[in-house]
């Protein structure tokens, strides 16, 4: 309760201040700022979205990596698409969303950021019929065309702020992993 109220206070304050960037200021305050709702989320020291080094230091981003602050997904892909190490499956979905300009409040607009997002929110961008086709060759079964039908809760597999998991595998033993693909929208 405390957290909810405080975060709402900061959200309004931040919106009031009206700072926006690639990653908006309220976003940063809520997710990476003074009152992180995700306890293990690193705190950003400066409010610029593509600033990988600010959190990840040299452990993830090599020291000689070009400065990333201000970069968006197309900038990452310009180098990472073919080259190793690829970014594919390395970034959590929260990051790929952010770098595509989808900020926290785009999904968490009405509710406290700690709450779960309804699949309807995902489906405003990701259409079930497209996904069904995208994964039709996945073996041994197309995860988007299962006995549960095409409209399952996305978050059963695809976690945005945690490693994704293979929901099928609570009963099956399917070899495929849930990708965190680098997609430009």
């Amino acid at each position: 309760m405390m957290i909810q109220r405080t975060s709402e206070f900061f959200r309004r304050l931040a919106i009031g201040i009206g700072l926006a960037g690639l990653v908006s200021f309220p976003t940063l305050i809520l997710c990476h700022g003074y009152i992180s709702v995700h306890a293990d989320t690193p705190t950003l020291s400066s409010p610029s979205g593509g600033d990988c080094q600010a959190c990840h230091k040299s452990t993830m981003v090599p020291a000689d990596h070009p400065k990333t602050s201000g970069m968006a997904m197309p900038d990452c892909i310009a180098c990472h698409k073919q080259e190793t190490p690829s970014l594919g499956n390395r970034m959590p979905l929260s990051h790929t969303h952010l770098l595509n300009g989808v900020v926290c409040r785009d999904c968490h607009a009405e509710i406290d950021p700690a709450g779960y997002v309804d699949k309807g929110t995902c489906m405003t961008c990701h259409k079930p019929q497209d996904l069904l086709i995208a994964t039709r060759d996945v073996r041994p079964a197309n995860p988007h065309d299962s006995h549960y039908g095409p409209e399952l809760d996305c978050d059963l597999c695809h976690h945005v702020h945690a490693p994704s998991e293979n929901f099928c595998n609570q009963c099956h033993a399917f070899g495929f992993t849930i990708p965190s693909p680098i997609i430009i929208r």
Binding site: Y116, R139, P140, A141, H147, Y148, G149, L152, D153, L156, N169, Q170, C171, H172, A173
Partner: protein, 509 residues
């Protein structure tokens, strides 16, 4: 059941109430007579305010719950379906889609003679006559009506009936995709048309009774995230007419199932969805419903140890190995049981050998295995050019295996299994034309026959031998229909028949 109010420690029946709060309550009786007993003696859980109300609350979104919801709505009641999981359909939506129907046009077309009486006789034989005959009879008699009802919802079935173990004739219908999801998806479609809400992540934690003992509502946790007991928020929903329990069986409830059968430890896998747990059954018992045959727990003989859960290989075993081929003990290369005996007889026989058995069929025998390619891909079914290479893979003595196959082929030619008297299919063929296919079998916990007692109106019967007012139940959460052993494909029939009955009566309660 445990929840934050602590009544789970045993307070709700009148007797329970007096026991736990006996001091205060008896003091009340002593000082001011019976009328001073606090109002909440029965309805200790009665909320001050209901968050919501509806005519009929259904718990569980499988075959039984959805059938009840559809019928209740069509009878004029407002209906809400509660489902604790994040997906609908329970075990029904992962089910194999075989549906026992006695005396159908499909059978007539194949010249198979059948009747509800024959199905009932099969159910009683497998059930060791522990079945509550009146209930089993209803299932047999209404089996045809039940499948036709699903057809009216748009469910499509394959042309041929299949022969499952323990049935004296082939009679079971297969959905077009060999999955119960074909039925559940159409049921869900119907609920949408009728404007019935299926509320996922809504976990029933208590059944609420009024002072007279009538069931009047439920306590739930909404936005619940299985299996976190304390997740979500508490809400009270009033059921103006009735509550229908359709919460399924408890094969995945490690604590409760090993309590009933201590041999079923975590070493034995289950075919069930992880939410197949006992809390609704226990809650029904807590308010005084009568338990029936809770410790009869069935293992499926056709599952494979080479994959998780039900997996895919069971189709080969059930449709080919047991019907068109043979099952052997790999250490001897010999058959050891009638491959079409009921599930308990087969599972017990496999367990007795102490290791997985091997089923074998030839290229003609696998015609009905719709998922053969996938089973080969997953590696649970294997393909061999010769019987010798098959024997080598499973370390079966090759000469003994060939002898077993020759013996069986002789039985097929004379149309009589002299060893175990297995039913000969109309077009039974020998095991002779390669490639040959094989799969290992090791039983897994599959079905819980026991549950709450119901009558022919699907009313739950209390320990006072009378219906618990306002409480109905259908499907695997009930006991009695199947007795000791459920026959394959009879669960769908049971769930649809009694789900519909429960809904019809609940709407008028």
């Amino acid at each position: 059941m445990t929840d934050e109010s602590g009544h789970g420690k045993g307070a709700l029946t009148r007797r329970g109430f007096l026991k736990t709060t006996g001091g205060a309550a008896l003091a009340g009786v002593a000082a001011g007579g019976l009328f001073n007993v606090p109002q909440k003696a029965f309805g200790a859980d009665m909320p001050n305010n209901w968050d919501e109300q509806v005519d009929v609350v259904v718990v569980g979104s499988g075959f039984a719950g959805l059938a009840a919801a559809i019928e209740a709505k069509q009878a004029g009641a407002s209906v809400l379906v509660l489902e604790k999981m994040r997906v609908p359909g329970g075990n029904s939506i992962i089910n194999g889609g075989v549906f026992a129907v006695a005396g159908s046009a499909k059978q007539e077309a194949e010249g198979i003679k059948d009747s509800p009486e024959l199905l009932l006789a099969d159910m009683l034989k497998a059930g060791l006559n522990l079945n509550h005959v009146q209930l089993a009879k209803l299932v047999a008699e209404k089996s045809r009506e039940a499948v036709e009802w699903t057809q009216s919802l748009g469910v499509e079935y394959r042309e041929k009936v299949v022969h499952l173990g323990g049935h004296s004739v082939p009679r079971s219908w297969s959905t077009h995709n060999s999955s119960g999801s074909a039925i559940v998806q159409k049921q869900i479609e119907k609920t949408k048309q009728l404007g019935i809400e299926i509320r996922l992540q809504s976990f029933l934690t208590a059944i609420i009774q009024d002072a007279s003992g009538r069931v009047v509502g439920v306590k739930v946790r909404e936005k619940y995230r299985f299996p976190a007991q304390d997740s979500g928020t508490v809400k009270h929903i009033k059921a103006n007419k009735a509550l229908v329990l359709a919460a399924g069986g408890f094969s995945a409830d490690m604590y409760f199932r090993t309590l009933q059968d201590p041999t079923l430890t975590e070493k034995v896998d289950t075919t069930n969805q992880p939410g197949a747990t006992a809390e609704v059954l226990l809650e029904a018992l807590r308010i005084g419903s009568t338990p029936v045959q809770i410790s009869w727990i069935q293992l499926g003989p056709w599952t494979s140890p080479d994959e998780k859960g039900m997996g895919v290989g069971y189709v080969f075993n059930a449709m080919a190995g047991f019907v068109e081929g043979v099952m052997v003990d790999p250490t001897t290369g010999k058959r050891f049981i009638n491959e079409l005996a009921d599930r308990k007889i087969r599972s017990d026989a496999i367990f007795r050998t102490g290791h997985p058995s091997v089923t074998i069929a030839d290229s003609r025998g696998v015609k009905g295995v719709h998922n053969l390619e996938r089973s080969l891909e997953v590696g649970v079914v294997k393909k061999f050019d010769t019987i010798e290479s098959l024997a080598a893979e499973y370390k079966i003595p090759p000469v003994a295996l060939q002898e077993t196959i020759n013996l069986w082929n002789g039985f097929v030619e004379q149309r009589k299994d002299e060893q175990f008297d297995r039913y000969m299919q109309k077009d039974q063929q020998t095991i002779a034309v390669g490639p040959f296919y094989a799969c290992r079998c090791w039983p897994k916990v599959h079905h819980t026959m026991g549950g709450v007692q119901i009558n022919d109106k699907a009313q739950v019967i209390g320990l006072n031998r009378k219906p618990v007012p306002g409480l109905y139940a259908a499907g695997e959460v009930t006991g009695g229909v199947h007795g000791a052993v459920r026959l394959g494909s009879c669960a769908v029939t049971d769930c649809i028949v009694f789900g519909r009955i429960a809904g019809q009566h609940a709407a008028k309660a």
